[in-house]
Symmetry: C2
């Protein structure tokens, strides 16, 4: 017969793990809902939002770099990028050091759109952060950080790639 779990480890019981799954589901559900109207009026979807977001986050990221973040196929990404290019939200610039690489960058319109989409999420995020407090936010980051595959953790905040030399 096993002893009851010590109180300090109660947060590892199944109910506490499922509570985290519940909260993650509802929070991301509501958070992703915010930019939707904004996107719909321009004939775009969540896939375009994700691409815009990470190009804003990592200026001059290559196609491979974006694929490594999004974990989709290049055919899927290609469709999304071509639409964003056709609509004038992003541009591709061949690399100087390696001209096979296409570095992705937001145009002025793309920067404006990405900022508008972020604005729809800002209030929810600032409300959540300020209601929870700075210490809670630190914990929030910690737990999420450790949920990420260690092999990917290194890439999360890598904002300047070692080869971001693009024309212009």
């Amino acid at each position: 017969m096993a002893l009851p779990l010590s109180p300090s480890n109660l947060f590892l019981r199944e109910e506490e793990l499922r509570r985290g799954l519940d909260l993650l589901f509802f929070a991301t559900r509501d958070l992703q809902h915010d930019p939707d109207q904004q996107l719909e009026t321009r004939g775009l979807g969540s896939a375009h939002h994700r691409a815009l977001y990470f190009i804003a986050r990592h200026p001059d990221i290559t196609v491979s770099g974006l694929l490594a973040i999004l974990h989709i196929t290049k055919q899927s990404l290609s469709r999304v990028l071509n639409q964003l290019i056709a609509d004038g939200y992003i541009v591709q610039l061949p690399g100087l050091r390696d001209r096979r690489r296409r570095h992705l960058r937001l145009t002025e319109a793309g920067t404006a759109l990405e900022a508008a989409l972020f604005e729809t999420q800002r209030e929810r995020l600032t409300e959540a952060y300020s209601r929870a407090g700075a210490e809670a936010v630190a914990g929030f980051w910690q737990v999420l950080w450790h949920m990420i595959d260690p092999s990917n953790q290194g890439r999360v905040f890598e904002h300047t790639s070692p080869d971001n030399t693009a024309q212009r």
Copy 2:
């Protein structure tokens, strides 16, 4: 000219908000990847997983209740539920008090499948919780909780509906 932000509010700057978005993306991306092989071998997808999860979480939930959680149309949910019923993972039981309602319940096979899917996520979650510590987990919950629309917060941990009277 505005004064610089006070250090106590630095966590509300845009970079800190975007950091949360980054972490949420990568953590949920990796977390949702875990059950995928398990699901694929049985011809199921993430939509089936979500339904199984919330039926496990809220035994005897009605179709309306599940729709309110998932925020999809009844046509979309119907397809998913019919597959799960056909495969013997869930059953529908008419309500005793209101026979229009269909209460959803996992079968033995459904309970086993849901448990197997949860197992694929358990290690990642326990690792994250224990590496981050109990205090961080509390913060993790707090921030996510405040990200949820207040109108929905009440329903998050409502495990026994006021009318869960189902046959058998």
